[in-house]
Point group: C2
């Protein structure tokens, strides 16, 4: 009884996300989003809402895809130490490739948007909690004490985020490796 969408919603959000990821919220114009998505402004507004809503949708998509990919790396075989190592190595890897300049959209959103946009802050908080819980799960087999697992997970999340800041700031790659090594030292 109505005209259907002419586009795939997820596909469009994926393209919007990439722009916000690379440029940040403020540096991204609606024109950029129009160009990246192939839709026109009116369609974007009609389907998703204003620029803040687009950003929030992009952030949620990042959670569902990229953060989830990170969490997936914590599954599978190996000791906690080996699992966490995979997390840090993925940062080192992407730093070496050095093509995409976005870094981590979650960190970017935390620093650029969380303080001024409540929904973004909530999303950031939720995703951090999710990441922390996944790390706790990865530690579960070897770290019996729940509180200790939680505090270790918090610590690892911090170091992981810190490394993302270093990487984007152009700090020597060795600093990332050093961080990784000291973190692993505290793990079974």
């Amino acid at each position: 009884m109505a005209r259907p969408r002419q586009f795939d919603e997820t596909e469009v959000i994926e393209s919007l996300m990439k722009v916000f990821w690379e440029k940040g919220y403020e540096a991204t114009s609606m024109q950029d989003l129009v160009a990246a998505s192939g839709l026109l402004k009116g369609s974007l507004y009609g389907a998703f809402g204003d620029k803040h809503a687009l950003y929030l949708a992009a952030l949620k998509h990042y959670d569902r895809t990229r953060i989830q990919a990170g969490i997936d790396m914590l599954d599978g075989d190996g000791s906690p130490r080996q699992k966490i190592a995979r997390l840090f190595d993925s940062v080192i890897e992407s730093t070496k490739r050095g093509i995409f300049a976005g870094g981590c959209l979650l960190c970017n959103a935390s620093l650029e948007m969380a303080a001024i946009n409540r929904p973004v802050k909530n999303e950031v908080k939720t995703t951090i909690r999710r990441l922390k819980l996944a790390i706790m799960e990865a530690l579960r087999a070897q770290v019996a004490d729940e509180d200790r697992a939680a505090s270790l997970a918090a610590f690892i999340v911090s170091a992981y985020f810190g490394v993302r800041v270093l990487a984007k700031g152009g700090a020597p790659a060795a600093m990332i490796g050093d961080t990784r090594d000291h973190c692993l030292q505290l793990l079974p």
Copy 2:
């Protein structure tokens, strides 16, 4: 033989810095800077250059003042453990106060600007190195091996930056404390 400046340069840069610190580069307009500094646009351009130059000057001022204040906390009495504790406690402290929303301008600059502005990236790199060296210095008495001091310092800088991301993202304060505690565990 010429008209002298009618303003104190450092004072003006301090006011500009606060705006960039709180809002970021893109979200700050020249109007914001005009309002904060009390100068007019022409004077700002004449004295410092364009918006990017203003930002860079602000970042350098942040290094000279706020980062230096952090480094100063590493001086004085106490074990390395106690010194580094002071660094993390200052973040916990400012999180509790919760008034100023800027977080750490160095981290903000790294994520928002380093990837797209070479001079900013260089300044970020330089300041990170300076911070790392100061931490090495704080470890020197107890950590004889230079390489070990360097890698420990890199690790601490990461955790410190990570904690700034967590803080701005609204993560529970306990995560910052947990990070602190695990870091200190690796220190003499």
